[in-house]
């Protein structure tokens, strides 16, 4: 029995290893969020370049980070992650230092997109989409025009019980931080506690915390004013033209989703070809047209249909305006303090 188990173990181990090697050698593995690029992008890339790329999906940044940290960056060639996570990959030494001569389409990026704080000069990441976090509201149900985070955090009596906030730690806290004039990367405990107290008082007025269905709550009228990412507010606008998006006067964060090539990629040439393919104006425009996110690609944005921008005015926001906003950065050790503050808010009655 013991010998059998041993044999079984050895066979299983060898089989898995062989499978892993085969998978690594043959395919270019790209990990992205579901629906974040054209459904036929991989197929078209393969037929245009003769590569055999394969798409795998991750639901969250943390999920792909967990896999990459566990495998020391092996098994993946290109990953789509938000900028703080690109920073981590670079700090861990897992990100490829980009050879710009292999990415001619990098010239399509706006000048402003090449000086982003997390990676000035695009040493290890290429921006794929960028945008803001603000207020999304039903202009037909909300009296006046909201213009401040306090409209959300200390709502009028009519709005009480009809607002939602994002549930994800960083954005939840960002609403309070911006309202109090703090950095969205603040790590001072006393300042975090001020944010906590403000958000606890805001919690009493909320309908719910919601990361995924806030725009449908606006469409049904269940909520009237919600904290939202601009692109997602656009999905609401698509269903009801009375929905509007505004960046509060205190500001917003600038979020950037990026493409990173892994240093240990076994298919580096193909990986470069792939990111170059995505940065092609035509291919990159797909994201703006279909997921309604701003893309940092000048010819892609300039080719957008005027009616699309009319319907979704925040698509017209310029790179210079975006660059005025502060990016979320990796917090390092302070992450635990952030999680704790969020738990304190959620545990408060």
């Amino acid at each position: 029995m013991t010998r059998l188990t041993y044999l079984f173990g050895v066979t299983l181990g060898a089989g898995l290893a062989a499978f892993a090697v085969a998978a690594q050698a043959e395919n270019l593995v790209v990990s992205n969020w579901d629906g974040y690029m054209a459904p036929d992008a991989i197929e078209k890339f393969n037929s245009a370049t003769g590569n055999t790329a394969e798409l795998v999906l991750h639901a969250t940044n943390e999920e792909i980070m967990g896999k990459l940290i566990a495998s020391k960056g092996k098994g993946y060639d290109v990953v789509f992650v938000s900028s703080p996570f690109a920073e981590i990959l670079n700090n861990l030494g897992l990100a490829e230092t980009l050879d710009h001569s292999k990415i001619p389409n990098i010239a399509n990026l706006y000048q402003d997109a090449t000086v982003l704080k997390h990676d000035p000069g695009n040493a290890f990441s290429l921006p794929y989409a960028w945008g803001t976090t603000g207020l999304c509201y039903r202009s037909d149900l909300v009296a006046g025009t909201p213009d401040s985070w306090m409209n959300l955090l200390a709502p009028t009596a009519e709005l009480t019980g009809k607002t939602t906030m994002l549930a994800t730690d960083r954005w939840l806290l960002a609403a309070g931080q911006l309202a109090l004039g703090q950095s969205v990367n603040e790590t001072d405990q006393a300042k975090l506690e001020e944010v906590r107290d403000l958000l606890i008082s805001a919690k009493k007025t909320l309908l719910a915390y919601d990361d995924t269905t806030f725009y449908s709550k606006l469409v049904t009228g269940e909520a009237h004013l919600v904290q939202a990412w601009d692109g997602w507010c656009n999905y609401g606008i698509g269903e009801n033209a009375d929905i509007k998006y505004v960046i509060p006067k205190e500001g917003s964060d600038l979020w950037v989703d990026t493409m990173v090539i892994l240093k240990d990629s076994a298919n580096k040439e193909a990986a470069y070809a792939f990111v170059n393919y995505i940065l092609d104006a035509e291919n990159h425009r797909w994201a703006a047209e279909n997921i309604l996110y701003k893309v940092p690609n000048q010819p892609a944005m300039e080719g957008l249909d005027a009616s699309l921008i009319e319907a979704y005015p925040n698509l017209a926001m310029t790179p210079a305006e975006l660059l005025k906003l502060e990016q979320l950065r990796d917090l390092g050790e302070a992450q635990r303090a952030y999680s704790r503050i969020v738990s304190e808010i959620k545990a408060a009655n």
Partner: protein, 286 residues
């Protein structure tokens, strides 16, 4: 040789469980004693910090809150489920399978779909409110969703069939002659129930209660959806450590505490069942 127990038949199940349950649990247990790396991930220096953090008043409070919610759900489900099981067991034998089938029917649909269906039904612009408006009710209705009550209602709804099944088994197995004997000896209906039926079906109630409690205390979907994410149960806290805070060691420590609570309860329940059935055997012998 002839009476040799076919122990080898257990091997596949044992291998399966140890490969896919015991080993992962041990790995999680081990994680709880390491440090979170500065960028997430794990630093392999031994520490009790994560375990200590579980007992921090903030997190211990979340455990207690979860236990209270799970306890309320389990209590309500036990009372309602027992009553239903009692009624089913009292029906003619031919009709019982159909009734049981109806009781477990909700299990045939996806948990998430059922929970979203509740949101469609209960939200402020939802079906119930629309019907009330159509019937001429114009007042603002009390908030039915995104409250603690909504979470408890959701948990009871989802786990009620477990209690019905768990209570039905001992109720259906009860020998009718015993209750008849009790009545012959002058006990009324209520006394018979309290002194005969109830004690004999305690194992079923305990199983149902513990099932609902254990499934509820670790649940994270219902608080997130029906509770509007406005309070954290322990399941949500564990979820957040693994999936948003990237703090696996603390998440592991929390999971271990949760597993310890569940194991404690299951042990108690097994104990209670053994004692109850042991008692019955003695009575039968005596």
């Amino acid at each position: 040789m002839a009476d040799r127990k076919p122990l080898y038949l257990m091997t596949p199940a044992l291998v399966w469980l140890s490969l896919f349950m015991v080993i992962p649990c041990l790995l999680i247990l081990a994680l709880a004693f390491f440090r979170r790396g500065i960028y997430g991930g794990i630093e392999y220096d031994f520490t009790f910090e994560n375990i200590a953090l579980v007992f921090d008043p903030l997190y211990a409070g979340i455990f207690i809150k979860s236990a209270i919610i799970a306890g309320q759900a389990a209590l309500i489900a036990s009372v309602v489920g027992y009553a239903a099981a009692y009624a089913i067991a009292a029906m003619p034998k031919s009709r019982q399978p159909l009734l049981l089938f109806l009781a477990i029917l909700p299990f045939w649909s996806n948990y998430l779909v059922r929970t979203y269906a509740w949101i469609v039904l209960l939200n402020r612009e939802g079906l119930i409110v629309s019907v009330a408006r159509a019937l001429g009710y114009n007042q603002e209705l009390p908030s039915l969703l995104y409250t603690e009550t909504a979470v408890i209602v959701g948990l009871v709804y989802n786990y009620l069939p477990f209690v019905i099944l768990a209570c039905y088994a001992p109720l259906a197995r009860m020998n009718a002659e015993i209750t008849e004997a009790s009545r012959d000896l002058g006990a009324g209906g209520w006394t018979t129930f309290r002194r005969i039926t109830l004690p004999m079906t305690v194992p079923g109630i305990a199983t149902g209660f513990v099932f609902v409690f254990v499934l509820s205390i670790g649940n994270f979907v219902t608080p997130a959806l029906l509770g509007g994410g406005q309070f954290q149960m322990i399941g949500n806290l564990v979820y957040a450590q693994f999936l948003t805070a990237n703090d696996w060691p603390f998440g592991a420590a929390l999971s271990m505490a949760l597993i310890a609570i569940m194991m404690g309860l299951l042990t108690l329940q097994t104990f209670a069942t053994e004692r109850a059935s042991g008692g019955r055997v003695r009575d039968a012998d005596g």
